[in-house]
Symmetry: C2
Subunit: 427 residues, 2 copies
């Protein structure tokens, strides 16, 4: 086997291949031999005990070697990872990858190559680290009908939101703390703008609904606009703000919505208790009911654990002369735009404190067929604020309502709009 | 395929085979055809839409038919299930079973037959219903080193203990409520005495530690002795009592302990929040860290979901001319007796209220090398009670300490002894 990339995850893979060599051999039925490690630069100091003789900068040459039958890709990003993976698959080699970006952006190409060449492409490590999630969706739930996948799949943003919730910190201060502790990168864009979670949501939706879903299909909002005030008022009302990835079948079952955005969830909901950088994902299946998977969603060792699990599987398959299940997209469900998604909304309005204001606000919701679940007035006079929570409505109707409210002369401002999740069908 | 048994689970399997026929065919690559259903008696009214023409009382004849390549066994119990499964495996047929009792009592025989005849034996439904747990242990964590599996794997006893905790009910009253709601059977022995959980613990331990573990290896205590007072005093101290299944590697890694018993866990522990008949299992792996799996652990539809997931897998394997991973017992770890298990203990003692009592009690702990973490005196005079919580010690030392305490003249009684779990390495 060959390893492409030897950073945080790769060096842990090398360490575990050494430390657990006997166990891995016993579980597979043959030893795993690491024949080469492709890196960008030689001579760099690396964690773990990577034999310098195995290192090469010629990744393409390594993948092409005749004595390589399994390729593990932990470089990340689109190129050169895609070219190397395709080259491996075309050569009939099995591939294990942790590359969520590639699978979410161009899964069709890599899955297509695996299918065409009858070889394995395993990628458990691409979503939620060591938490077994893709294999359960792909195999354990293969006899069930998944309705919804809802969860926290990005540890960095969960750490930031958890700190904001527990200490009252601002987004910027919480981000700095996360960076100091190594939970967030120097350029945190991929995490805080929701790109990482959106890639994972695309992968989960594709598996759950047997359809092809790409990152471009995912409605994405990050957490950079969340203020300490948002967090505090959510807290005061018994909610906590989490960045959720939600993949859900429409009510008629004919399309799916896939989205990543911050949402308020009740403090009693199991996802509200997911602290620090942990991940947790709910899967709601027709027969199986509510299932939850929880654990460390990132980090070198947990991700390496998932890589090694896949490595054992593809190695067993090779020995048996077979391969695992291929990509399943037969259902080919349409991914509907965010406007068609049915959700609920929490809105705070700064309003004039005079008779008739509530009637005019309520009328604006009624015009869009959005019904109001609760409304509360806070403050008096110049500080008057209306806090409303709606019943379920399409996101388009909710957005149109908010737009209309902004234009009302009695509304001085709309300081907070946030979706509410986890109150219906709460496990 | 043939179905053996058509009760609560079997009738749901039949229903789902009908309702999801197109999806199952697309996921497998070929339709699943139900060719026969073996039942004990014809003419009985059954849930779901079982075609009467498929019913037969000749299970052995059905299994032997040439047109049957997959056998699903949901009869339960040792015989005739074992004979039928062995007959199917010897005929080269794939078997899917939900039979925890058989696997825990005589797994060696059935796994041996599957290995010898190179065919599949899948049994996800035998533990924790629809919660994907066996496949993650067997495959996803195949590249990791599991240290401990700890969880709630019996919904009936969790329902009873949850009611006792939330309403203050006695064991008998809570059991009656569980029976009225269908959560407990008329003869609740298998659940309340821990036999069901012990069978599941044996299966989990075997998979987690790549060793052969049988039900007879499992230390088992039920919940029938738990009183409303036990529950109330646990509650007063911030604990909740749960029936736990615990499979853990010893500190030196050379043996494993497998046990089922009620234990006090802190209310902040994630397992403390598992309500009603839900199941939840923690897996602690060296690289993967703490993982939790949560969902409905029993019931017709959730169990049928697990059966169908396995059915898709074995059908795919047959089409590909291969089979999944066989039983893995290479590590062959010794299962140590309960006395060697390291745990902690909560003890209440009715004592004489006079000087020197605490010194004599403390001395009894010291004699067995058990150190005390906290001690508290409650009441005065004739009502004086000492409540102690120990540090970690072997169960043998803890038992010897309790025996010694009972014999002290200053100790009038030992109203409560219970193990404490979940305070070290709490996720």
């Amino acid at each position: 086997m060959a390893l492409l990339g030897c950073g945080v995850v790769g060096s842990q893979v090398v360490r575990l291949l050494h430390e657990q060599a006997d166990d891995l051999a016993a579980r597979i039925g043959a030893p795993l031999e690491l024949a080469g490690v492709a890196v960008r630069r030689l001579g760099r100091k690396r964690d773990g005990d990577v034999d310098p003789a195995l290192l090469t900068t010629d990744a393409e040459g390594l993948v092409a070697r005749d004595d390589i039958d399994i390729v593990v890709e932990v470089i990340g990003g689109i190129e050169p990872a895609r070219t190397l993976i395709l080259s491996a698959l075309r050569g009939g080699k099995s591939v294990v990858t942790a590359n969520k970006a590639l699978l979410a952006e161009d899964g069709a190409t890599v899955h297509g190559a695996a299918k065409l060449h009858g070889t394995d492409l395993y990628y458990e490590a691409s979503v939620a680290g060591a938490i077994p999630l893709l294999r359960p969706l792909r195999e354990s739930l293969a006899g069930d009908r998944v309705h919804r996948v809802l969860g926290i799949v990005n540890g960095t943003t969960n750490y930031i939101l958890d700190k904001m919730d527990s200490t009252g910190a601002s987004f910027v201060d919480a981000l700095e703390e996360a960076q100091a502790l190594g939970y967030a990168e120097a350029d945190p864009t991929a995490d805080v703008e929701g790109f990482d979670a959106a890639a994972k949501a695309a992968i989960l939706a594709g598996l759950a609904f047997h359809s092809r879903v790409t990152a471009a299909d995912v409605h994405r909002e990050g957490i950079t606009e969340i203020t300490a005030t948002d967090v505090a008022s959510a807290k005061a009302m018994g909610y906590v703000i989490k960045l959720l990835a939600i993949c859900a079948r429409s009510d008629d079952g004919r399309s799916v919505g896939v989205r990543v955005h911050p949402a308020m969830i009740p403090r009693g909901h199991p996802l509200a208790g997911v602290r620090e950088a942990y991940n947790a994902v709910f899967v709601e299946a027709e027969s199986g009911g509510q299932l939850m998977f929880y654990g460390k969603g990132a980090g070198g060792a947990p991700t390496a654990s998932a890589v090694l699990g896949d490595l054992v599987a593809v190695a067993r398959n090779r020995l048996a002369g077979t391969h695992g299940p291929q990509e399943s997209t037969y259902a080919d469900l349409r991914v509907h735009p965010m406007g068609e998604t049915v959700t609920r909304c929490h809105v705070s309005l700064d309003v004039d404190d005079k008779p008739g204001v509530l009637a005019r606000v309520a009328d604006m919701f009624a015009k869009q067929d959005v019904s109001i679940q609760t409304v509360r007035q806070e403050g008096r006079g110049l500080d008057a604020q209306l806090v409303l929570v709606t019943h379920r409505a399409t996101d388009a109707a909710l957005s149109a309502t908010i737009e209309g409210l902004r234009e009302l002369d009695i509304v001085r401002g709309v300081p907070s709009v946030m979706r509410v999740e986890g109150e219906d069908n709460t496990p």
